[in-house]
């Protein structure tokens, strides 16, 4: 390659890089636009929402007043919704991660009759539409009087087939057979091998499944919408949707706009914070699942 050709290649590389950065930055703008709008709008009064430009602040910051109004509305039920969401998500996430880790370990490290069929059924169940499950689940829970309880939301959410898949793939790569062999040779029981060796080596995968399970429960709308009717039992998604509906219906509900927007911001923060704090885990965990 002559010096001139190399310089030409360098120029084309720079041009490609500018184009690539422009494309990526454009998409970043699109990604952040609604979040920016949410942040800016949460600082506005109802009047400012209508009178000021949506993508910029409207003069005085009204965020604290909005937060106070949000948490005071209906005797502070928003805090209750947040706590419900947190409780449901933690229970469902921990439950899903616990059973998925054991199941993934069994599918990864043991040969037994029915293994491939079990795995295929678990994976295949991802195809089953939500409505096929949620409507009969409602009737079954209603039959035993468990609708409007935490169990109606948490128990079905512990079934997380994708979590089993991710744990199987993760344990395939993270737990060497030789180590298990050595532990068995030393006379360790299967339970203690699982508790001491597997749990430790698979912990990044477990954190990923816990995070994904907890987030999908926090973000779930359909299941709690069907299962819960009592205002004090609702998670934040269903509660906010009710307020949104009320605000949009007009007839005096318009005072709710700033409360709904502030509530949406507060309702998003825990999940986003968790995702950012734990990105090291989920990026690794998801990656191992996608490659297979």
């Amino acid at each position: 390659m002559t010096a001139g050709a190399r310089r030409g290649a360098g120029a084309s590389f720079r041009r490609s890089r500018t184009l690539a950065m422009a494309a990526v930055l454009l998409f970043l703008l699109y990604t952040l636009l609604p979040l920016w709008y949410l942040l800016v709008s949460a600082t506005k009064t109802n009047q400012q929402l209508f009178s000021s430009f949506g993508l910029w602040f409207g003069g005085d910051l009204n965020l604290w007043e909005n937060l106070a109004a949000l948490f005071a509305r209906d005797d502070g039920i928003f805090l209750r919704w947040m706590l419900n969401s947190a409780l449901y998500s933690v229970l469902a996430g921990v439950g899903a991660a616990a059973v998925a880790t054991m199941a993934g370990y069994a599918l990864s490290k043991f040969r037994f009759r029915g293994r491939d069929a079990t795995f295929a059924v678990i994976i295949g169940s991802v195809m089953v539409p939500n409505t096929v499950l949620v409507i009969p689940l409602f009737l079954l829970f209603a039959g035993v009087g468990l609708t409007d309880t935490w169990a109606a939301v948490v128990l079905p959410s512990t079934v997380f087939p994708l979590g089993v898949y991710l744990m199987k793939v993760y344990i395939d790569g993270a737990v060497p057979d030789e180590l298990l062999d050595a532990a068995r040779m030393d006379g360790a029981s299967e339970a203690s091998i699982f508790l001491t060796v597997v749990l430790r080596l698979a912990s990044p995968g477990i954190v990923t499944v816990l995070l994904l399970g907890a987030t999908s429960t926090w973000n779930n709308y359909f299941l709690p919408l069907v299962m819960l009717t009592r205002g004090e039992a609702l998670p934040v998604t269903v509660g906010l949707a009710q307020w949104f509906d009320l605000a949009s219906a007009g007839s005096g509900g318009q005072a709710l706009f700033s409360i709904v927007i502030t509530g949406a911001l507060v309702g998003v923060l825990p999940v986003v914070a968790l995702f950012l704090a734990l990105q090291r885990f989920w990026q690794g965990g998801l990656a191992s699942g996608a490659v297979k």
């Binding site: 990604t31 949506g54 499950l133 409602f138 927007i261 998003v268």
Partner: protein, 318 residues
């Protein structure tokens, strides 16, 4: 957690698999027989209770009907016949077919381009971009729909405000002819990053030395990406398409939220899942809702299978 009593875990069982993968001295002789079942048991119990049992119950519901006279009677496939001849089902399916044909290729196209860009040497700060693009996935779809609903809004939506300031008319994003693209945009916003992370992870597994070989051959990065990298990550792309098809026919949260601000556009049968919800909880026709749910499942399976067959045919022709 199942803590296995050592005696159970080690008890030698008749017919136990002698050893796994033909090696491992003591391993697998006895424990291999019981331990995997005990490890699987908690998940399988929950799976049976909250996935299999409701499916069987739904099947049962869909085959019976409550009569004013005579109580609940077996009606065979009558509920399915009613659902399949119900124009509301086909309206919803039509909407979702149109939605999917626009949204899935756009979203996955963008996700693929972004994944290729981040995987190339062209973009700096890719860890930052990867995290930022994934962020909408952490936002509840209720909040995503609500925020986009306000953004679209004719009253204080910034698009309408901006268009008005420029003296232009903004399109009414919440009107009947704009609703499908408006919903498609919300879903694209939420899931492009998620798909990008999956595709990016697959790209990372493409051997680096291939890239060096290609650049010595004089192949540009774009040609290399298209002809070498994309075919290598076909399985990941197919996975993303299948997940998107499943998601499309289950669309519920976004249209339900948007129905609050566009009640005349989004009726009870705008999507098949909205219609199933309405049949169950407004009309209290659980039998029809169950039948409809299975029809949705069948449509998802048929469309997914058709896509896989098409993909296989395209692969064979290469």
């Amino acid at each position: 957690m199942t803590a296995l009593p050592p005696a159970v875990a080690r008890a030698p069982l008749a017919g136990a698999a002698p050893s796994r993968r033909g090696r491992g001295g003591l391993r697998g002789r006895a424990p291999g027989a019981v331990a995997p079942y005990l490890f699987l048991a908690p998940f399988l119990l929950l799976f049976l209770a909250f996935q299999v049992a409701p499916m069987i119950y739904a099947l049962w519901l869909s085959l019976f009907r409550e009569r004013l006279v005579g109580g609940t009677v077996f009606v065979g496939l009558d509920n399915y016949a009613d659902v399949l001849t119900d124009p509301s089902l086909w309206r919803g399916v039509g909407n979702m077919a149109l939605f999917g044909l626009i949204q899935v290729p756009v979203m996955l196209g963008i996700a693929l381009v972004l994944a290729l860009l981040l995987d190339s040497a062209l973009v700096r700060g890719r860890a930052f971009f990867r995290t930022a693009f994934y962020l909408p996935y952490a936002v509840p779809s209720v909040v995503a729909a609500l925020v986009w609903g306000y953004l679209y809004g004719p009253v204080f939506g910034p698009f309408a405000q901006g268009a008005e300031a420029l003296g232009l008319g903004a399109p009414n994003f919440l009107s009947a002819q704009w609703m499908i693209p408006s919903l498609a945009n919300i879903v694209t916003w939420q899931f492009t990053g998620y798909n990008m992370v999956i595709l990016f992870a697959a790209l990372q597994a493409v051997p680096r030395d291939l890239e060096e070989a290609a650049s010595l051959d004089g192949a540009g990065p774009a040609a290399f990406a298209w002809h070498v990298k994309v075919p290598l990550i076909r399985p990941a792309i197919i996975l993303c398409v299948i997940f998107s098809i499943i998601g499309t026919f289950q669309l519920f949260n976004e249209p339900r939220i948007m129905a609050s601000i566009a009640p005349n556009v989004i009726g009870d049968d705008y999507t098949p899942t909205l219609y199933a919800f309405s049949l169950a909880f407004t009309s209290l026709r659980f039998d029809l809702a169950a039948a409809l749910s299975f029809v949705i499942g069948l449509i998802v399976a048929v469309v997914s299978y058709a896509f896989l067959a098409l993909a296989a045919r395209a692969e064979a022709r290469r």
